[in-house]
Subunit: 230 residues, 2 copies
């Protein structure tokens, strides 16, 4: 049986992702679980403590995903990273959408987030180097480092950028997930010039896999959708 | 002689950029100018109205910069765009640092920002196409569009991303400006695989021009600085 602490986190995560953390109170969370506010406060002294615990969960998930594996990598491994990053972004989408807000309101969380970024970048560099050793990427050390930073900033900023323009998207899970997939497409385009071997052979298929169709693009973010190349 | 409305905007911009908009009240702005709060309210009914007027100024500046010029472009034109974008980001840095916050608190500003993004992307695509016609860039229509979106998201997110990790930077103008220059370096790396002709010949010089040295990188954002390529 799931313990109360975990049930509180699960319920809070579902509500935050659906309605946005700003629109959800601890009373909503307690109500959803059918427990008293006092019982909730016994486990988490306030909403920020819940956000902080959900960040821990998110961090563990992503750092596990970014563990540099033994041996050479295949392009299927590369696809696996995209799927893993997508799942992780989807699971913690309320965090990404409003990251600046959380870092601003909780200096302790900010310090922990910095260490997390540091760890993730170090692991990400390890994976890129392994992809290079495996002949799937060709890039100088400087190119690899710049690519890594651009990938990170893009992945971390994409949900906030697109939701900032279209806050109503979070009410439609299909569109919302499509939006994140389009973010993966943008990362694939970032890496495209450096891909070699099997990764290059599968580039078009990978793009097709994640790219939104034009109609959804227009609906999601007209600004970008309307940039047509005639 | 500068009118009071303009003096209020100039003073507010300087204070917002230095201390962050959240830490500056209309009383601070009035005090800085030696006018009464009532006089200030006569011109701008609240702080959000000042932010909105400063956004207008920023938007005009950037859209003018992104006007697609007549005739072929040279790599010096390309450098000019980087310098112009840098100046514009520097001038409006308080906006970039905390964009999600402003879009969240003012739905009217958000709608206007969307139109601005749309206009900027359309003009940006025009410039990229002109650079392609001028033989400075080689890319398919799809690559050009993805590059444009990635450049925009990176430029718009860079100040918020780095300041979110290091809010104390804004107290040191030299470091703060260096941080924005490093953002331009990241954009150059994004475009690098597509550069041709004179733009490619000058790639290394352009990178050197904007890249921070290692010591400043470490001080600015240890996370990224510590990703060493051995």
């Amino acid at each position: 049986m799931t313990d109360t602490k975990t049930r509180i986190l699960d319920a809070a995560l579902a509500l935050f992702n659906r309605f946005g953390e700003r629109n959800v109170t601890t009373n909503h969370i307690a109500g959803e679980l059918g427990i008293s506010p006092g019982n909730l406060y016994y486990h988490y002294r306030n909403k920020a403590a819940i956000v902080s615990a959900l960040f821990d969960r998110y961090r563990e998930h992503l750092l596990t995903l970014l563990t540099v594996p033994e041996g050479p990598l295949t392009w299927e491994d590369k696809m696996g990273y995209f799927e893993g990053i997508l799942a992780s972004m989807w699971e913690g989408r309320f965090l990404h959408r409003d990251l600046a807000h959380f870092l601003h309101q909780d200096p302790v969380l900010r310090d922990r987030y910095k260490v997390f970024v540091e760890d993730s970048l170090a692991r990400g560099l390890g994976i890129y180097q392994r992809l290079r050793d495996s002949g799937l990427i060709e890039a100088s050390d400087e190119e690899l480092r710049a690519l890594l930073v651009n990938t990170w900033v893009l992945a971390a900023s994409w949900p906030g950028f697109t939701h900032g323009l279209n806050p109503e998207i979070s009410g439609d899970e299909t569109l919302d997930r499509g939006l994140l997939r389009q973010g993966i497409y943008q990362i694939i385009c970032l890496e495209a010039p450096y891909l070699r071997g099997e990764a290059l052979d599968h580039l078009d298929a990978m793009k097709r896999e994640y790219r939104l169709d034009e109609t959804a693009l227009d609906r999601l973010f007209g600004a970008v959708g309307q940039v047509r190349s005639e």
